[in-house]
């Protein structure tokens, strides 16, 4: 029973993180209708930046967020202007190709710089555990989860209670009408995109001590994000978070009870495929 609760808690924590990662993807999709296949790879960049901070500068990953997040935000603005802005009105498949290419470049660059070795990132919390009753958490895990939830709440607040959030909702619903109201749709798209990358710039270093860092993690994360996106309902942010939790739980509990344990990796994909077979049109539409 204890291991079950342990698995449950771990699944919830991972799930919350997945939920946040996907919300960033969803936000970009809602205002640009772009599906960024490089989403995961972009987060991996942030993870490697954290790694660099630890190895070469001795800075704790949590501290390096202060630098990495703004850096990623700026990178997002540059990337938007150089690549995404130009393919905004192109055919969906072209966007997939371009973002696949981008992810590929990122992965190859990371491979080139850091090699394919699995890396771990140490933080001051590594190895520390927190005990609540019968359950033992890794501190790094807990911090990652709590911050993810906080960021998600912050996002909801921004969306529903600020002027900018109102603009985002308008652009997401009807960009033409939004422009007729004087909103610069391009600018909103750019800020949301950069903001998503900035979020990844926070989540990356946050989970670097939790995940194993290696260059191919990117596409895997992207796929999980897409799975969570589709399961959660594309325009429904809360649904996204819940779906993230479900996937996280599936992974964690699967890892506990399946044999061989590596097979647990199949569970999210299995759920995804089953879901799509039972709910034919998927929630995505295109």
């Amino acid at each position: 029973m204890d291991t079950f609760i342990q698995g449950l808690v771990q699944g919830l924590a991972i799930g919350g993180i997945y939920g946040l990662i996907t919300m960033a993807l969803t936000a970009v999709y809602s205002v640009t209708r772009l599906l960024n296949f490089a989403h995961g790879d972009l987060m991996v960049i942030a993870m490697y930046l954290a790694l660099t901070g630890v190895r070469w500068l001795g800075i704790d990953p949590y501290l390096s967020i202060l630098v990495i997040a703004p850096l990623m935000f700026g990178f997002g603005i540059a990337l938007f202007h150089l690549v995404f802005e130009r393919v905004l009105r192109a055919h969906v498949l072209l966007v997939v190709q371009v973002t696949l290419g981008l992810g590929f470049v990122i992965q190859s660059a990371l491979l080139m710089i850091f090699s394919a070795n699995y890396q771990t990132v140490q933080s001051f919390l590594t190895g520390r555990i927190i005990v609540l009753g019968q359950i033992v958490f890794q501190a790094t895990f807990l911090v990652a989860f709590v911050v993810s939830v906080l960021l998600a709440l912050l996002f909801f607040w921004m969306l529903n209670r600020t002027t900018f959030g109102r603009k985002v909702r308008a652009v997401a619903e009807d960009p033409v009408a939004a422009s007729l109201c004087g909103i610069s749709v391009r600018w909103v798209q750019m800020i949301v995109f950069a903001g998503a990358l900035g979020t990844l710039g926070v989540v990356g270093p946050l989970v670097a001590p939790v995940f194993i860092v290696e260059p191919t993690l990117g596409l895997h994360l992207t796929l999980v994000a897409f799975i969570v996106l589709i399961l959660g309902g594309v325009t429904n942010f809360i649904g996204t978070f819940v779906a993230g939790v479900i996937i996280g739980l599936a992974e964690a509990l699967g890892g506990l009870y399946m044999s061989p344990p590596e097979f647990a990796g199949i569970l999210p994909y299995g759920i995804f495929i089953l879901f799509l077979l039972l709910r034919p049109s998927g929630v995505l539409g295109r």
């Binding site: 599906l35 690549v83 130009r86 393919v87 192109a90 969906v92 498949l93 072209l94 997939v96 190709q97 371009v98 696949l100 290419g101 981008l102 992810g103 590929f104 470049v105 992965q107 190859s108 660059a109 491979l111 080139m112 191919t216 596409l219 895997h220 796929l223 897409f226 799975i227 589709i230 061989p260 590596e262 097979f263 990796g265 199949i266 994909y269 299995g270 995804f272 495929i273 799509l276 077979l277 034919p280 049109s281 998927g282 995505l284 539409g285 295109r286």
Partner: protein, 323 residues
């Protein structure tokens, strides 16, 4: 008959090349042609058919693993074993095609399912002892034509060249005469769908099967050339490469999936050789090139070129009419 001339020219060029090239270059071009083969066979269903899929490497793996296992355990020649591999791959493809059409899955959803399948495939391959685990399956080196094993690289070159040309012949044949197939790509068009009805489903499944079966042969070839096959051949990495190479060449064109990989593989090998110290630079460079081409042209090179040519000819026609 005229439309097959470029293919004949291509074949002849390849033949000449094989006779003058040294082993180093033969090796590079075997790989380049292998990629071209994979891209052309993928394009049948991915670029032209509108079923954007990441699953091609899985078919490659099925082909390679099946023929290799049959050879190692039962002594069956890969020339025969490959047909079983092709059949299995075709079955999987038909299943996916059926799901795609019966469920009317959106393009993206189907693409994601196929991506998920590559991940599942790798996990399965890695975890299975029978399938060789992470190491894969090794084949005994030898020089025995009957069992698809040769010391001479030239032979492999001829085989892959021939295979690629045959597939090109097939693609040229159906892309000109079977315009109905193109309508599959317009699957979202309700009127066309109503008109074609069941035929659409049959055609989709048939072409999926063909594409997969041909891809499976690519797997057998790979195993026989390297004398080993391992899980990386089923990876999403290869799937992305196939998609990107085809994209830069031009999706849905006949020659796009040939020129794209030929150019890129040669480029990578060259870069990796020049910059041996920075391993992996080649990948980064060609990735950037692909992005730039796609963003600027909004299309692959061959398709873009085709459009420009069409515009020029129509401009000339208008000018003629004005006079």
């Amino acid at each position: 008959m005229k439309k097959y001339i470029p293919i004949m020219v291509f074949f002849v060029c390849g033949a000449i090349f094989s006779m003058v090239a040294d082993n180093y270059w033969l090796d590079i071009m075997v790989f380049a042609l292998w990629y071209a083969y994979l891209c052309v066979t993928w394009n049948i269903i991915g670029g032209v058919g509108g079923q954007f899929t990441f699953a091609h490497p899985v078919y490659v793996a099925i082909g390679g693993y099946t023929s290799s296992l049959l050879f190692n355990h039962l002594g069956v020649s890969p020339w025969l074993g490959m047909f079983l591999g092709m059949a299995l791959a075709a079955l999987l493809a038909m299943l996916l095609g059926w799901i795609n059409y019966r469920r009317r899955l959106p393009h993206l959803t189907f693409a994601l399912i196929t991506l998920a399948i590559t991940f599942v495939a790798i996990i399965v391959l890695r975890s299975s002892h029978f399938l060789g685990g992470s190491e894969g399956i090794f084949l005994q080196r030898g020089n025995d034509p009957l069992t698809f094993r040769f010391f001479n690289k030239q032979v492999y070159f001829w085989i892959i060249l021939g295979a690629t040309c045959l597939v090109l012949v097939f693609v040229t044949w159906f892309s000109r005469s079977m315009t109905g197939f193109k309508l599959i790509a317009l699957r979202d068009n309700e009127d066309a769908a109503a008109m074609l009805g069941i035929d659409q489903l049959k055609m989709a499944m048939m072409f999926s099967a063909i594409s997969a079966a041909l891809g499976a042969f690519g797997g057998t070839f790979y195993a026989q050339y390297l004398f080993v096959i391992d899980p990386t051949v089923a990876s999403s990495h290869l799937a992305v490469e196939i998609i990107l190479f085809t994209a830069i060449g031009g999706m849905g064109t006949v020659w796009g999936p040939v020129l794209g990989p030929l150019a890129m593989v040669v480029l990578i090998r060259y870069l990796n050789a020049e910059f041996v110290n920075i391993s992996g630079l080649g990948q980064v460079v060609y990735g950037v090139i692909i992005i730039v081409v796609l963003v600027v042209l909004k299309d692959g090179v061959v398709s873009w070129g085709g459009r420009k040519l069409a515009q020029q000819t129509s401009k000339l026609k208008i000018r003629e009419q004005r006079q």
